[in-house]
Symmetry: C2
Subunit: 715 residues, 2 copies
Amino acid sequence: SCSKSISIEGHESYPKLILKKQDVPQIVEGISKYPLLKASFEKAKSIADNAILNGIEIPIPKDPGGGYTHEKHKRNYIEMYNAGLVYQLTGEEKYAVFVRDMLLKYAELYPTLGLHPMKKNQAPGKLFWQGLNESVWLVYTIQAYDCIHDFLTDTERKIIEENLFKEVVKFFLTENKSTFNRIHNHGTWAVAGVGMTGLVLGDTLMVKQALYSTELDSTGGFLRQIDELFSPDGYYAEGPYYQRYALLPFVIFAKALENNIPELKIFDYKSGVLNRAVVTLLQLTNTDGRFYPINDAIKDKTWITPELVFGTNIAYFNTHDSTILDVAQKQGEVMLSIEGLEVAKAIEQGHVKTFVRKPIVIRDGKNGDAGGLAILRMGKNEKQTSVLFKFTSQGMGHGHFDRLNLNIFDRGVEIVPDYGAARFINVVAKEGGRYLNENKTWAKQTIAHNTLVINQKSNFNGSVKLADKFSPKLLFTDLSNANIQMVSAIDENCYKNDTIQRTLALIEFGDRKFLIDLFNIKGIGRVQYDLPTYFNGQIIDSNFEIQRLNQYKILGNNNGYQHLVIDAESRAFDSLARVTWAIGTGFYSLTTITNTHTNFYVVRLGANDPNYNLRNQQGFIFRGELAGSGKILSVYELHGNYNPSTEAVLGSESAIDSCKLFDDNDRVAVYVTLKNGKKIGLFIDLSFSGSNSNRVKVDNSVVTWQGNYKLTIKE
Amino acid sequence: SCSKSISIEGHESYPKLILKKQDVPQIVEGISKYPLLKASFEKAKSIADNAILNGIEIPIPKDPGGGYTHEKHKRNYIEMYNAGLVYQLTGEEKYAVFVRDMLLKYAELYPTLGLHPMKKNQAPGKLFWQGLNESVWLVYTIQAYDCIHDFLTDTERKIIEENLFKEVVKFFLTENKSTFNRIHNHGTWAVAGVGMTGLVLGDTLMVKQALYSTELDSTGGFLRQIDELFSPDGYYAEGPYYQRYALLPFVIFAKALENNIPELKIFDYKSGVLNRAVVTLLQLTNTDGRFYPINDAIKDKTWITPELVFGTNIAYFNTHDSTILDVAQKQGEVMLSIEGLEVAKAIEQGHVKTFVRKPIVIRDGKNGDAGGLAILRMGKNEKQTSVLFKFTSQGMGHGHFDRLNLNIFDRGVEIVPDYGAARFINVVAKEGGRYLNENKTWAKQTIAHNTLVINQKSNFNGSVKLADKFSPKLLFTDLSNANIQMVSAIDENCYKNDTIQRTLALIEFGDRKFLIDLFNIKGIGRVQYDLPTYFNGQIIDSNFEIQRLNQYKILGNNNGYQHLVIDAESRAFDSLARVTWAIGTGFYSLTTITNTHTNFYVVRLGANDPNYNLRNQQGFIFRGELAGSGKILSVYELHGNYNPSTEAVLGSESAIDSCKLFDDNDRVAVYVTLKNGKKIGLFIDLSFSGSNSNRVKVDNSVVTWQGNYKLTIKE
Ligand SMILES: [Zn+2]
Ligand SMILES: [Zn+2]
């Protein structure tokens, strides 16, 4: 770890944390020149003006989240923060007076407080029911104090520092010590608050504790958090929805450190992972800016969200990657700091470059060795197709049991969706907006995902403890070709007796895209498997009779199965089953190699859901049996177009005539023959050995190829 | 009717139908000046250039709609039409040559043709399986001929006129005579084609027949069609989806008449109803430009549709209503004519005014006495709330049995939706894109709508013949106030023994909107009623226990009931039932006065639908009984806000504490008491007699008011 000898730079001028005294004149000038900066300043001013108009109220803490005193204390720090900034940018004393008076009242109240009366978990606060809120309060409030520091008398400063900030810090370092030292996002908020307070108060020990844990032994603290919570590729294990939120204290505290202890070179730490984490997060969005809703995630959340403004602004300032400006521009606001000034100026001067979503592999794990995500992408802008393949680690408390999960997005629409979290955030009637019980009974379960379920059990039998220990492994990836992108990953632990490998190849051919989806399962004994494909849209067609049920049948009793109603089923298949559905302007077909033992279900969510906590969601499930080892081949076909303006429809039918799989252990040949006679051949060495003499018997001849895979098109 | 002596203006220059010779120079100049005109010209040129590149093919008619020869003949007229225009605007002969050669080939083929081999209905074509397509072919092709008329030799003209156009016209006037004379949109296409051909060929009789029917007796023909198919308010009885399409031959033929027989003053006919029909149609859209999907309608169709370009351009040219420019601008293309020039110029010169959707009553029926539509509207732009109340006539073949139906839209989202048509237009696997059987068994039925169903039967027992004879009546409307808009209509015929009156009052109070929905039923004998509210979104909450079923139960056996699965039910109510759901950024609550006999169902579509032809749709149904007469009171509450960027939620819960109804025959007092103690009182004389001494006993006192209604707010 880093040297523990640090010195806080001796510039005596305040503010110095994020907004810096010496930058104020250029920012003030920039406000008159750059529309984005102006809009952001005006927003801050309007918040501050309203706050002054409404007067100061510091209620005795009483209510839990969503309640009056909770919301009021939240509003208070936002108001102080904005008033502090506006004081610096206007010089008008009324803003400083407002912050001063509120801080003095907090300094009166805080020392009188015990733990919050509604405390719920092991990390309570005093102003708030959760320590987390208290940390956030501190991160914003210390910035407000920083802004008015020079306006105050020595006596006022003494009162506020001794009775308020040092008290809050003491609370974190003693009563909330375990959170403070925890390698977890909640810990980051705590160390950010305490560390920034240390920088403002000139308290080197506080800063050291924030960096290296209360014991200064690097078992916790900010640096250890950066080490462990981000992969080298900048992935945060809980997934993009939480990464969006978790990034905030990282980039703010890092910025404050950069401004005051530049020799720490915090943005170079771990090869510059904090900047990379911002760009990686931006890549983890669909064409409309929505974060991919893996793990616990509120769907529809986009990159236009206030907490990401700090991320884009600081990352742009550090890297001058002008594609970040594209996102910053859409966000419509910037930081009131030198970073925001640079962003607003660059945008106004026309430096924006389009942010391009690329095919990408993002490694998970602190050392990049705990699986990851692959995003296969073809097509441009809002028409882009994305295939998200998830072989990450469990993702801590917010992770799902979704090893080797697949999601498909096309033309801005979620085609093969992820359920996200079972939660209606901030909706009073839905458990006050907290995670619903169905998050555990449904959303986290394996059957809720587009991946293989063995013997109707979830991965690791639903044990988070076990799941935390193992990650899938990336075996092979090649995203460098225009017409084929391939990835293969393996999980050897999520089912006790079986090793599961999933290989995806996205192929563009003609005006269609084909996603070859091959499972290679090696196991012992006879197992039943279910392979679900949840879909949005309307069933259009199938090449077999789908028998809708006129009785109420639930798919199973537990592990999520208890929530699935069987809407239709089919049995006794020929060699191929094909279903087509439509949504938006596109048509989508799933073709699967079947046999006479295959069962097919159309399922819908809603069983054992008395309070309508689950959304409507339909899915297809193919059920089969494996004796020991085996392979499962499906082909997704993205085709056709509906033009709502002219009502013209093109290519609404699947083009596939047949799919065939030939294999010899790890060597496989996949043939997709189209109705027009053309034939796609894909030959893979599933062991990815790099061998130059791969061979598979195909009917009565032998096919050979060199290297890990080969694509052929027979016209 | 008009004088039947007409003279086609003797200007010998061609083209003269829509694009006029004398306008060509200014249009050519305009192309270089006005971006919209330029884009439209370039689109036409690209179609024509591609056509020339691909060469001419006139296949022998063989395939039905969607098939090759069908699509090819459609493409041919589009190509000729565009090449004709481009010839005029560029003077390049290759375009004229293309049109000439194709016309000559058609002139060779057409006389050899019998009826189309795939003919399906009583009005077949020769080039196409349906005469309708043949009419459309003629409307475009005669314009192409008009454009190259002067380029041709006398001999060529003679061949084309005698062997092609006169043959087609003869076909319409003899074999397809009944369609030609029919007061129906298909008839309009036929008379437009024939009439425009008459204008180009200088054949006065043809034009007269188009105007006054084959027998010249005004039992059919264009003028009679205008008389009967549009109400004085410009409403077309089949509803907006069909009005969008039906308008096209009306405005094109009218424009051709205006250009060639100006003394007919066709755009003044019936007090200028054709211009009004355009603006009325624009009003029949939701905030995002989607047409309200009443009757048979493909949902998601918006005003950005090529066939409406003629409507907006011609209506703007005639009226200079600059709010039409707002729509024309969004359409992104203009006519290549003086009308399109004017529109493109006005837009470029900044004359666009925002098109404002207003509260409005639109009368139906040729004389405006066959019911109509009322749209209550509050709020601005994309945040607007619209309540659509349908008390129109049946709407001919595409009408639904939906007397007194209600739909609610809010913030761009369909909150209480209309199912629209059961049809997947142009999707091969769904019956070739035609209307599905479920259109009849579900979409048209009364239970598929948000209106009262008596004894599980549809209006008029599902008889179109009967339904065509009667319309509801508008009793009262007052849309002039800022905080309350009211409408009341009555239907005395849709159920044999019962008269049904529905009164809607949209009230804005605080930051919420309340829609008071009062049924007043006068009948004989005991009846069961069902009152459905279909909803989009997620059930959030209710003030009673909703019992989800774990058995498969269908609501009924016929009249649409056979498609509804009972998902949940509740019985034995207290005095008030309230359910809340959420969609988009809003929350919606429905509060209904109930009693111990009320039954409540949550239903979903999908029973007896083996091919998944019906979309998922959920609904609430309140079922009750009436002994003779009675009233049913519901209150819709539009409330709250979800901010997806900040995840903040406000007002997710209903504010209603109680609803009460007091009545004395036609005098009613409705009280809605809110949880904050405020009280909305609405007093209505349901006979709308204008009496100055209305009174109702309320508990132990008497409330009196003057006039048809009174709103009070008790703080
Ligand atoms: Zn998940
Ligand atoms: Zn309908």
